[in-house]
């Protein structure tokens, strides 16, 4: 088990180097000069320009800049933004917000997927099942940003049941509405997995054996049907956790949530290489860790899987 975790973490090193290099290269090749853009319409003094360039190592060739950046990264120095803030500080403010949002969304998604999938699977072909499948089809074909706008307009503005925007003070309650909307747009995959596994499990030999022991449905369904069906759903949910953290830009933009997505978006617009690369690097590391955790969780759920 430990060997497995160590090996997976070692594998993450080339992934980490590859992504940082790629991101650094892409941000570097973006059109426009960020330093000149800083001055807006004014024509800057060439001496000032050169000084700023030197401060940010922008006068060095690309590859040197990259290695200087890596060197700083390893020593924990993520650099400063153009407005003079430490990138570390920006990160430590933005990450908890996004984590809260995503955690809420994922928990809601998981509950929806498991409960609806189970009911639907048990009542395969019935009215509830069909109604659920149609609803799922509709929900999964609505683009997330449309769903977010609609929810914001009707529930936030018209009904006033939830804050329209979140703002600087991102509490759990204020982010509940966007979390529910995200969950509704992504629960369908998990629900279908659950439904399919439940249908399959119901005709499994071990479920028949369980009935032959004299167990009642009240025990068979949670212990033998639902428990076995959870395995693919958990994997799916955990995988979407990583994707969601990296993909909250739209949600955070619409609801004005000061999370990772929004900071990253602004940084890209301003061409702040250090901020962009640092954020993406952290996201990559997080993604790798989440994936390792998913694999370990899989072993907990399915005793047949043992990592050596």
């Amino acid at each position: 088990m430990l060997m497995y975790v160590v090996r997976r973490l070692l594998q993450a090193i080339p992934v980490f180097l590859g992504t940082t290099f790629l991101i650094y290269f892409m941000v570097f090749s973006m059109p426009g000069d960020p330093i000149i853009a800083l001055f807006g319409d004014k024509t800057p003094n060439p001496a000032v320009l050169a000084a700023i360039r030197e401060q940010y190592n922008l006068d060095e060739p690309f590859i040197v800049q990259y290695f200087l950046y890596l060197q700083n990264l390893v020593t924990g120095n993520l650099g400063v933004t153009f407005s003079g803030q430490e990138v570390v500080d920006v990160l430590s403010r933005a990450f908890p917000v996004t984590l809260k949002l995503v955690a809420m969304a994922v928990v809601i998604e998981f509950i929806l997927a498991v409960v609806i999938g189970l009911i639907s699977g048990l009542r395969k072909g019935g009215i509830i099942d069909n109604a659920n499948l149609v609803t799922a089809l509709v929900l999964s074909s609505v683009p997330p940003f449309v769903a977010l706008f609609v929810a914001q307009y009707f529930i936030g503005i018209k009904l006033g049941w939830a804050p329209v925007t979140v703002g600087a003070n991102a509490t759990w309650g204020s982010m509940l509405l966007p979390a529910i909307v995200i969950a509704l747009t992504i629960y369908v995959t998990g629900m279908r997995l659950m439904r399919g596994s439940v249908i399959e499990a119901q005709s499994a030999d071990y479920v028949r054996t369980a009935a032959a022991k004299g167990l009642t449905a009240r025990r068979i369904i949670p212990v033998h049907v639902a428990r076995n069906s959870l395995i693919p759903v958990v994997t799916n949910t955990a995988a979407s956790f990583g994707a969601l953290i990296a993909g909250t830009t739209v949600t955070e933009g619409i609801f004005n949530i000061p999370g990772v997505g929004k900071v990253l978006y602004d940084a890209i617009l301003r061409g702040e290489n250090a901020t962009v690369v640092s954020f993406v690097t952290i996201l990559t590391i997080l993604y790798v860790i989440v994936n390792i955790l998913v694999d370990l969780l899989y072993a907990v759920l399915d005793p047949r899987i043992r990592y050596v």
């Binding site: 060997m3 119901q202 005709s203 499994a204 030999d205 071990y206 479920v207 028949r208 054996t209 369980a210 009935a211 032959a212 022991k213 004299g214 167990l215 009642t216 449905a217 025990r219 212990v223 033998h224 428990r227 076995n228 395995i231 759920l301 399915d302 005793p303 047949r304 050596v308």
Partner: protein, 583 residues
């Protein structure tokens, strides 16, 4: 029979009145709803089971024997229902029972041991959990400690001596035989009055099968549990049950005392079944083509026509060697955690020769290395060491081109006719594929060859346009044989090629193989675990144990005078070995 002076069974339960039937089945009918209409799987079946008695239902697949058994506890597949008749359990009709009422019948009154030990235990719960659950549900014991103690007790009774230590292990950490013991433990866990055992050992090796059945027999006798044994194996049924019920197409064709039925069968179907069952008393099947065979002769007569050739051995010696294997070894490395691994000698230095036109049977239990040996001979895997010469061509030094040509001379038929045919392709396309791969002929001539092959394996030529799912198991295996014969091979490897088939179909396929061998001069390497089959197909036998050949020689010699205890054990384990069948 039962000693009437004994008032309680070993479990302390008062004995039921032995004169009153425990279960009475009256005119039972079961219907399955399918896309193409209703299928009547069981049509008016009636029988009684008395306390403590052992009854066996025998029949081929599709005869309705398993359906009858599952109907007794109302665990039919989703599209099935009891459409008529009564099932009286201790005098009460359960056909109208709700699921909740059934829960009190299942486990406590009627226990059930399913067929496949691999799929009948829930893989995510420990073995102990699954046994405790059965005990708790039926109120046999209460309180954590008592339940645990009872669980250990039933598992030990079922033959898991180290149950205490293995309680928290998961099903995948147990072998098939051990899992079957766990299932028997679960079935007996709640002290049922009747235990239904649905092919409880058909997935297991003969030696394991014997141990498990012995155990089941002594346990049910000890606890005075009635046993309903569902099996396709006549010998097994006769050996274990006092009463026999023979089912065919949803009906009971014959029932009564089991020895009486086996020795003096009345119904033609029972006679057919008995004749087709290979037993130790059988002799090598020879081609029936030489004898006067009339249309419509069934398997039973063909077997009788088979004449024993006195000079078989001399003929074998005279034929040239077709396949020669010397010091063949195959070693796999098994990972043992971290970077450690240990070698597994799957095939550990075996040597044998097969003469042209003869059959060598490679027998052994699962894990003995017989299938690995077949894969090596076929060139599907490279050997670690040793020499394989097929028809004068050494496989080790062969170029890719030579190997490709060699494959043309050597074909294979696998065990499972359901898995070895591509469901997406028509029968014609499946049989023609090897011809296409080897660039034999054009479209027209290949089509003609497919028809010829279908005729050779006694299938109608119209089948060429059908798909595997429209065929029965026996028909599929014929298709697999036709495919193997397409390239006119000299050597055919038959890897458990008849193990998955019903006895009647098995007899037909064995006859077909014998005919083809005589007609085409084929050399067979026959891989099997079934010694009764070996007796009727093989000229020579090699017995494998743990990768080594422990005994080899002419079939009759080995069967009549086995030298090795392992071979003797395999022979003794054949169900019904000591019973003389009538006809």
């Amino acid at each position: 029979m039962t000693d009437t002076t004994v008032q309680t069974s070993a479990s302390g339960r008062p004995l039921a009145d032995p004169s009153k039937p425990l279960v009475q089945v009256k005119d039972l009918e079961v219907t399955f709803k399918t896309g193409t209409g209703d299928v009547h799987a069981v049509r008016g079946v009636s029988f009684d089971i008395y306390p403590g008695e052992t009854v066996a239902i025998v029949g081929e697949s599709g005869s309705g024997k398993s359906t009858t058994a599952t109907a007794l506890i109302k665990l039919l597949a989703g599209n099935g229902r009891i459409s008529g008749g009564k099932v009286l359990v201790e005098g009460k009709d359960i056909t109208g029972y709700s699921e909740r009422q059934m829960a009190s019948v299942r486990g406590g009154v009627i226990g059930y041991v399913p067929q496949d030990p691999m799929s009948n235990l829930n893989p995510v719960w420990s073995v102990g959990f699954q046994v405790r659950e059965a005990i708790r549900a039926n109120g046999v014991a209460s309180g954590r400690k008592d339940i645990q103690a009872k669980a250990i007790e039933v598992l030990q009774q079922a033959g898991l001596a180290d149950a205490e230590r293995r309680m928290e292990q998961y099903p995948h950490q147990f072998s098939g035989g051990m899992r079957q013991r766990v299932l028997i433990g679960i079935g007996l866990g709640a002290d049922p009055k009747l235990l239904i055992a649905d092919e409880p050992t058909s997935a297991l090796d003969v030696t394991v099968q014997k141990v498990i059945l012995d155990h089941l027999e002594s346990l049910t006798r000890e606890l005075n549990t009635a046993l309903l044994l569902i099996t396709h194996d006549l010998g097994l049924a006769a050996e274990r049950a006092s009463k026999l019920i023979v089912m065919h197409r949803g009906r009971i064709v014959e029932s009564g005392d089991s020895l009486e039925i086996l020795q003096h069968p009345q119904h033609p179907y029972t006679k057919q079944l008995i004749a087709a069952a290979p037993s130790l008393a059988s002799r090598r099947i020879h081609s029936s083509t030489g004898a006067a065979v009339t249309e419509g002769v069934d398997a039973i007569d063909m077997l009788k026509l088979a004449v024993k050739h006195e000079d078989t051995e001399a003929v074998i010696e005279a034929a040239p060697v077709m396949v020669s294997v010397k010091d063949l070894r195959k070693t796999y490395s098994i990972r043992r955690g971290g970077f450690k691994s240990e070698p597994l000698h799957a095939v550990d230095g075996i040597s044998f020769e097969i003469h042209k036109g003869t059959t060598l049977a490679l027998v052994g239990e699962s894990g003995s290395g017989k299938s690995t040996a077949a894969r090596l001979v076929l060139g599907l895997e490279p050997p670690t060491e040793g020499e394989i010469v097929v028809g004068g061509q050494n496989m080790a030094g062969a170029s890719a081109k030579q190997l490709f040509d060699l494959r043309r001379r050597m074909q294979v038929v696998f065990q499972d006719p359901y898995a070895s045919l591509d469901p997406q392709r028509s029968i014609g396309a499946i049989i023609a594929e090897p011809l296409k791969v080897h660039g034999v002929g054009d479209r027209v001539s290949r089509h003609a060859r497919v028809e010829e092959l279908l005729e050779q394996v006694a299938l109608p030529t119209e089948l060429a346009h059908r798909y595997p799912n429209e065929l029965s198991g026996g028909q599929r295996q014929r298709v697999a044989i036709a495919r193997a014969l397409a390239l006119k091979p000299e050597v055919v490897v038959l890897d458990e090629a008849v193990s998955a088939l019903d006895v009647l179909v098995q007899a037909q396929i064995l006859q077909l193989l014998a005919d083809l061998q005589e007609e085409l001069g084929l050399t067979y390497l026959f891989i099997t675990h079934d010694l009764a089959v070996v007796r009727v197909v093989a000229d020579a036998v090699a017995v494998m144990e743990q990768g080594k050949i422990v005994e080899a020689g002419p079939t009759d010699e080995i069967f009549e005078n086995a030298q090795q205890p392992y071979t003797q054990r395999l022979l003794d384990a054949i169900p019904g070995a000591g019973i003389e069948f009538g006809n």
